[in-house]
Structure formats: structure tokens, C-alpha cells
């Protein structure tokens, strides 16, 4: 693997050092080197998709290596490994570089050629191994009959089942495919973290499973997409049966679930595709159903869209707020995420007429606006998030003055 020419991009704002490192890596390391003196030049090269490793200088003048590393991570699904060149590689810089996911670091001062070449080769080898392992895992996932996250049948198994049903040349049996899309999973992950999203997905999967009857086949085919295949050949009034099942499924899949301090209201968007009327194979049936679920999801989004008034009411008077007396007594609160029907428990501190500081117990990205209720005190009040540091965040009441008078009871 190491005999291949590794394609590396080097970014450094010092053209002299850039030329030196490029020559060094080219002649001593046998690598193909692309040079960049700033982020824009680097991204032009990375966009071509050939670069296997980025050697990034920490001090780049107007920006630093960590900014560039962040941008690379955000821009590409599978970013190339990065090695940091540091001038004064203090402990904090090194720790931060590993936290950011950089593969290695090399001191720029008294640069050691074999160390530098070794760091790049090591980073590329590890990256290739990771990619290969991922591909292997993906292959096994594809082959597996069961979905690892929910325990339901996998997409490949469902596809095989449908292929069997549709390949019957003599008297093919009609069936109905119900496409089920779990609503808002992306937002749940963004707001409450991966752990809660995975648990929500499992809970949803269990509901899908519980709603099946003998002869049904159900599985998860994508992130938030499930299907249930109903054998309609034996049912005397198949059309009404499917409609009934669809309605019951819809009701069954709209439920509230608790995860420690977070309460989520889960729901689904459903659509039906019938074989052979709506498609002759799995993909065609799924496409037919997807069009219907997309339309239904759009309508639902419009119906649950947040009113803009909350976001526009951030008129604070900082000087008055500072003088205002704050209550440091801890209170129990509940956060209602507008548009998601989700509730998160929190503790409230520093409650004032204008705002409060809140703390949650687990990962939670506070939305720009939400509703806050003090448990045992009063109703829900709209608030805007002003800052967040880890599990703590500060909020401001949309209608200043409502805070203590209404919430404090």
C-alpha cells in the first residue's frame, strides 16, 4: 500500500516553507504534492477529490489550521485525514488537534523528515483501513436480513421478499406496500443528540412491529423509512382492508415516549402503493409511495410551522436586566419545543423578570425559540435562547416582565 504515490495537499502561508516541504515530500517521501497558501486554494484542490491527506500549518496568517480543519470536516462527508504542522506545539494545541479529529501532528521547528513522512503515511493507511472497514460493514449490513438499529427486517430482505412476490409469472398475488416515514428524526437528533434519536428510532420500530399481523412483512429500508407489506390476495374486500389498516397504523404510530428527562411525541407519515396497479417492482412501488409521503410531509410541515413572532421578539434592555434582582433558588422547569411536541425537563436558576438560566441533564441543543414552564407555578411562556454552554443556557422572555410575575407564581 505504501508503494503507491500518496497524494497530499500542503497548506502554509509561507511560500518558502511550502516549497521546501513540497520538495521534501516529493523527493524523500515519494508523494505527489499539491500546494496551497490559503483555504480557498486548498478547497479548489480538495473539490477535485484526489487528495488523500492534508498537511496543514497551524499558523496561516488570517486563519489558523483548526479553522481550516473544521471547514474540511463540514464540507466533505468523508474528509481526508489531516496532519497538523505546529510551530510551538504546546500541549493545548496538540489536545485540541486530536479533539478536532486530526490524525497526527509534527513540529515545524527542526523538522524531522522521517517523522513527517511517517505521520502522513500512517494517517493515510489508517484512513484507508477505516474506509475499507466501513465498506465491509456496509456490505454485511446490506447482506443481513435484519436491521441493526431496530431489529426489523433489513432493506435487502424486504427487497428480496418483494422480488419473490412480483416474480411469480403464473397468477401473481396482489399485495399492498405501506410506506411509513417517521417524522422529525433529523430534528430529534440535532436537538437531543444521537442517543435519544436512536432510542426514538427503536421505540418507533417496536411500534411498527407491534402493528403487524400474521402474513405481514415489515422492515426498515432507510434512516427514517419503514415499510409493511400486506398480503391482500386473501382479503375479500382488500381496498377497505388496506384503508382500515392504514388508519389504524397511523393512530398506532402517533404516540408519546419518555427517555429519562426527555418526552417526545412521535408520529408518522404514511402512504400506500398497490401491486400491480401502482408499480411492477419494489423500486417502482416505493417511488409511488414516496411521492405521496413527500406531499403529506410537506403539508404537515406547513401545518406545524412555528409562528415567526417568537423569533422577532428579542428586544432586551441589557442595562436594566443586569440591575434586576435574580432568584438563585433552583426550580424545576419543562421545556416545550415548539413544532416537535417534545418536552425536556430542566432546572431553572437565576430567574428574573427578563430571563433565566436553565440546565438540562443530557445533550440538548436549545432551539432559537421555545416555551418554558415552571413546574407547579404557571403556564408556558415563549422564550428565546441567548447563549448555550454545554448543558447550561440562558433564555430571555419574549414578553419581558412576564417572567417573574407569571412564572414565579
Amino acid at each position: 500500500m505504501q508503494s503507491e504515490q500518496i497524494r497530499v495537499a500542503v497548506i502554509d502561508d509561507d511560500p518558502l516553507f511550502l516549497d521546501y516541504v513540497s520538495e521534501l515530500l516529493g523527493h524523500q517521501g515519494g508523494m505527489r504534492v499539491t500546494k496551497a497558501t490559503d483555504g480557498d486554494q486548498l478547497f479548489k484542490e480538495l473539490d477535485k477529490g484526489y487528495v488523500e491527506c492534508v498537511l496543514v500549518d497551524y499558523n496561516l496568517g488570517n486563519e489558523n489550521g483548526f479553522d481550516v480543519a473544521e471547514r474540511i470536516k463540514q464540507r466533505y462527508d468523508v474528509p481526508p485525514p489531516m496532519v497538523l504542522l505546529t510551530g510551538r506545539g504546546g500541549e493545548r494545541t496538540v489536545v485540541k488537534s486530536f479533539r478536532l479529529g486530526l490524525s497526527d501532528y509534527v513540529s515545524k521547528r527542526n523538522l524531522n523528515t522521517s517523522e513527517l513522512v511517517g505521520a502522513i503515511r500512517g494517517a493515510v493507511d489508517r484512513h484507508r483501513q477505516t474506509i475499507s472497514s466501513r465498506a465491509e460493514l456496509e456490505f454485511h449490513k446490506q447482506q443481513s436480513a435484519y436491521d441493526g438499529s431496530t431489529g426489523l427486517y433489513s432493506a435487502s430482505h424486504i427487497k428480496k421478499c418483494v422480488a419473490k412476490l412480483t416474480s411469480a409469472t403464473i397468477a401473481p398475488k396482489p399485495f399492498a406496500l405501506i410506506a411509513i416515514r417517521m417524522n422529525g428524526i433529523a430534528r430529534i437528533e440535532k436537538t437531543f443528540g444521537r442517543l435519544v434519536a436512536d432510542r426514538a428510532l427503536r421505540a418507533f420500530g417496536q411500534r411498527v412491529q407491534a402493528s403487524t399481523r400474521a402474513g405481514d412483512i415489515c422492515g426498515r429500508i432507510r434512516d427514517d423509512a419503514f415499510v409493511t407489506i400486506l398480503d391482500t390476495s386473501a382479503a375479500p374486500k382488500s381496498l377497505s382492508t388496506v384503508s382500515d389498516r392504514l388508519e389504524k397504523l397511523k393512530q398506532h404510530l402517533s404516540f408519546e415516549t419518555d427517555f429519562d428527562t426527555v418526552t417526545l411525541q412521535l408520529s408518522a407519515t404514511l402512504a400506500v402503493a398497490r401491486y400491480p396497479e401502482d408499480g411492477s417492482n419494489f423500486d417502482a412501488l416505493l417511488e409511488h409511495a414516496a411521492i405521496l409521503t413527500d406531499t403529506a410531509a410537506e403539508n404537515q410541515d406547513k401545518a406545524t410551522a412555528q409562528p415567526e413572532s417568537h423569533a422577532n421578539c428579542v428586544g432586551a434592555r441589557p442595562e436594566r436586566r443586569r440591575n434586576d434582582r435574580r432568584h438563585r433558588v433552583l426550580k424545576r422547569g419543562r421545556i416545550y419545543v415548539v413544532g416537535m411536541n417534545s418536552v425536556v425537563d430542566c432546572t431553572i436558576r437565576n430567574l428574573s423578570e427578563y430571563g433565566a438560566m436553565l440546565r438540562v441533564n443530557s445533550f440538548f441543543v436549545a432551539p432559537d425559540t421555545f416555551e418554558l414552564m415552571v413546574v407547579g407555578a404557571s403556564g408556558r411562556q415563549p422564550v428565546t435562547t441567548r447563549w448555550q454552554t454545554g448543558l447550561d443556557f440562558g433564555v430571555q422572555f419574549v414578553n419581558p416582565g412576564d417572567g417573574r410575575t407569571k412564572l414565579d407564581g
Binding site: D14, F17, R88, N110
Partner: protein, 103 residues
């Protein structure tokens, strides 16, 4: 070191030397200006940038002693030392470059 790389390296070293000639003049000039002001000036930043760049490259081109001296100037510019102290250290660096590189 292969012949081709040795040739390239020689050319890069010449470029480094040429840059140093410019940098010593700049350092002397900036040190003079810095010593004459009390403010947290632009000169301070420019001295730091020159020192940082020098610290990052001098060792590579065979001048580890200059790397140490330049790193010291960079560190002084980063901590809140007085302008006159930084100006004096920058002058010492400039003198050191002249000596080591035989300008």
C-alpha cells in the same frame, strides 16, 4: 539526500538567505519605531510575524540557533512585555542573524 533534492534544497536555501537580508533590515527598523512608542502597536505584531516565520524555517535550513532566538522573540511579543524590552530583543535577533549568516 538525493542529487535532485540537494539541488532544489540549495536553491531554497538561497531564497531563505535573500529573505533574511530583508528581514534584518525590517527588524531593525521596526525595533526603532517600537521603542519610540508606548502603544500596543502594529510594529509589535509585525515583529512577532517575522519572528514566527523565522522560527518555523531557520532550523530547516540549517540554523537551529536562529530558531531558538526567533522563538524567544515571538514568545516575548505574545506575553505583555514592555515595548522597549521587545525592541531590544528584536535588535539582538537581527544582530544574531547578521552574525550567523555573515551579512
Amino acid at each position: 539526500m538525493g542529487e535532485a533534492f540537494a539541488l532544489k534544497f540549495g536553491l531554497l536555501k538561497e531564497r531563505f538567505r535573500g529573505r533574511m537580508i530583508g528581514d534584518v533590515d525590517k527588524l531593525d527598523h521596526l525595533a526603532l519605531q517600537l521603542a519610540a512608542t508606548d502603544s500596543n502597536s502594529e510594529e509589535r505584531k509585525r515583529i512577532r510575524d517575522i519572528a514566527h516565520r523565522l522560527a518555523g524555517t531557520a532550523g530547516t535550513f540549517g540554523y537551529p540557533d536562529l530558531t531558538e532566538r526567533a522563538a524567544h522573540v515571538e514568545k516575548m511579543a505574545d506575553v505583555a512585555c514592555g515595548n522597549s524590552a521587545l525592541a531590544e530583543t528584536a535588535r539582538l535577533l537581527s544582530r544574531g542573524i547578521r552574525e550567523v549568516m555573515d551579512f
